[in-house]
C-alpha cells in the first residue's frame, strides 16, 4: 500500500510542476524515477520515451502508464496516471470556476517571464546528460543533430522520426551481424 501512495505522490508532484508541455516533464521524470528512486535505468528511460512518443495520446500520460505498469502492473499504471492527471484537473477546474481573468493577472505574467527560459534550460539538460546512456558512438553521433533538424527545421512529425530511427537501427544491426 505504501508503495502505491509513493507512486501516486511522485507522479502528482511531476504533474504539478510540469510547465509547458510533455517534454518539460522528461527532466522531472528523470530526476524522480531514474536518479532518485532508481526504478528504471537511464537507458530504459530513453527506450520508454521512444515508445511513449510513438504511441498515440499524451506523452506524459503514456510515460506514467508505462512506468506504473512496469513497477506494479495494471494497478500501478492506474495509480501513476491518476497522480499525473489530478493536479491538472484540479488547477484547471479552479481557474475555470473562479479565476476567469487569470491570464491577465500582472503578477502571474511576471512569474512566467522568469519560468519560461528556465523550462527551456530544463529541457536542454537531458540532451547532454543522457547522451552517455544512449550508447552514442562516433558511428551513430550524426543521428542526434539529424533528428533534431528534421523536427526543428524541416517540421517533420516526431512520430515519423521515431519510426525511421527504429527501422534504421534494425536494418543496420542486421547488416552488422552478417
Amino acid at each position: 500500500m505504501k508503495f502505491y501512495i509513493d507512486l501516486f505522490f511522485i507522479f502528482f508532484k511531476i504533474g504539478a510542476f510540469t510547465l509547458g508541455g510533455g517534454y518539460a516533464m522528461l527532466p522531472l521524470i528523470e530526476a524522480e524515477i531514474v536518479t532518485k528512486h532508481k526504478w528504471i535505468s537511464p537507458k530504459e528511460f530513453l527506450d520508454l520515451t521512444a515508445m511513449a512518443q510513438a504511441a498515440p495520446g499524451i506523452l506524459a500520460v503514456n510515460m506514467a502508464i508505462f512506468v506504473g505498469y512496469k513497477l506494479r502492473s495494471f494497478l500501478g499504471a492506474a495509480v501513476a496516471t491518476l497522480g499525473a492527471v489530478l493536479p491538472s484537473f484540479v488547477i484547471i477546474l479552479l481557474i475555470a470556476l473562479f479565476f476567469h481573468n487569470f491570464r491577465e493577472n500582472p503578477i502571474v505574467e511576471r512569474i512566467f517571464k522568469g519560468i519560461r527560459p528556465a523550462v527551456v534550460a530544463l529541457i536542454a539538460v537531458p540532451v547532454f546528460r543522457l547522451s552517455r546512456s544512449a550508447g552514442i558512438t562516433w558511428k551513430t553521433f550524426w543521428i542526434v543533430p539529424l533528428c533534431a533538424l528534421a523536427v526543428w527545421w524541416a517540421k517533420i512529425s516526431p512520430v515519423y522520426v521515431v519510426l525511421a530511427a527504429g527501422i534504421g537501427g534494425y536494418v543496420c544491426c542486421r547488416k552488422g551481424e552478417k
Binding site: K13, G15, F17, T18, L19, G21, G22, Y23, P27, L28, A31, L46, D47, A50, M51, P56, G57, I58, L59, V61, I65, F66, K70, A84, S88, I92, L93, A96, F102, R103, I111, K113, G114, I115, R116, P117, A118, V119, V120, A121, I123, A124, V127, S133, A134, I136, T140, I143, C147, A148, V151, W152, S157, P158, V159, V162, A165, G168, G169, Y170
Partner: protein, 174 residues
Amino acid sequence: MIYWQIFKTFFKIGLFNFGGGYPMISFIQNEVVFKYGWLNNAEFTDIVAVSQMTPGPVGINMATYTGYAASDSVWGAALATFAVCLPSFVVMILIARYFLKYQDHPCVKAVFRGLRPAIIGLIAAAALLLCDGENFVDIKSYFIFALSFLLVFKYKCHPIMLILLAGATGLICY
C-alpha cells in the same frame, strides 16, 4: 446528448493524436470549435493560453477545460479527461507488455539502438522550438536560461526547485 459527444470526441483525440501537445491543439480546435461549435475561436484561444500557463500536460489541461466549457459542469471536465487518457491506457499497456517480454531479443535491441540517439535529437528539437520571442523577451531571459542550465547540469538542482527559483526571479526582476 452532450456527454456522449464529449466522450466520443476526446476518445478520438486521444486515439489519433500523435506527436505531443502542440498538434493536439489544432485537432481539438477542429472538433470543438469548427465541428460542434461548443466554443468560439476567442474562447478557445483563451483556453490554449491558460492550458500552457498552468502546470500539467497541455493535452490534459485542454481536455479538462474544454470538457468543462462545453458542458458547463465538472462531470464534462472529468469525462473529457478520462476519455482522452483511455486510448493511451490500452495502447501503452499492450506496448509495455510486449516490450518487457521481448526487450532482450536481438531485433528489439537493434531497433532501440537506433531509437536512443533519435530521442536525444527529439528532445534537443523540443528545446530549440521553444527558443522564440515569447519565451525569451529580453536579455534577462538569456541570463535566467544560462543560470538554470548551469544549476541543473552542473549542480544537479532539482527541477521543482528550479521552477520555484525561476518564478521568484521573474517576480523580482520584471
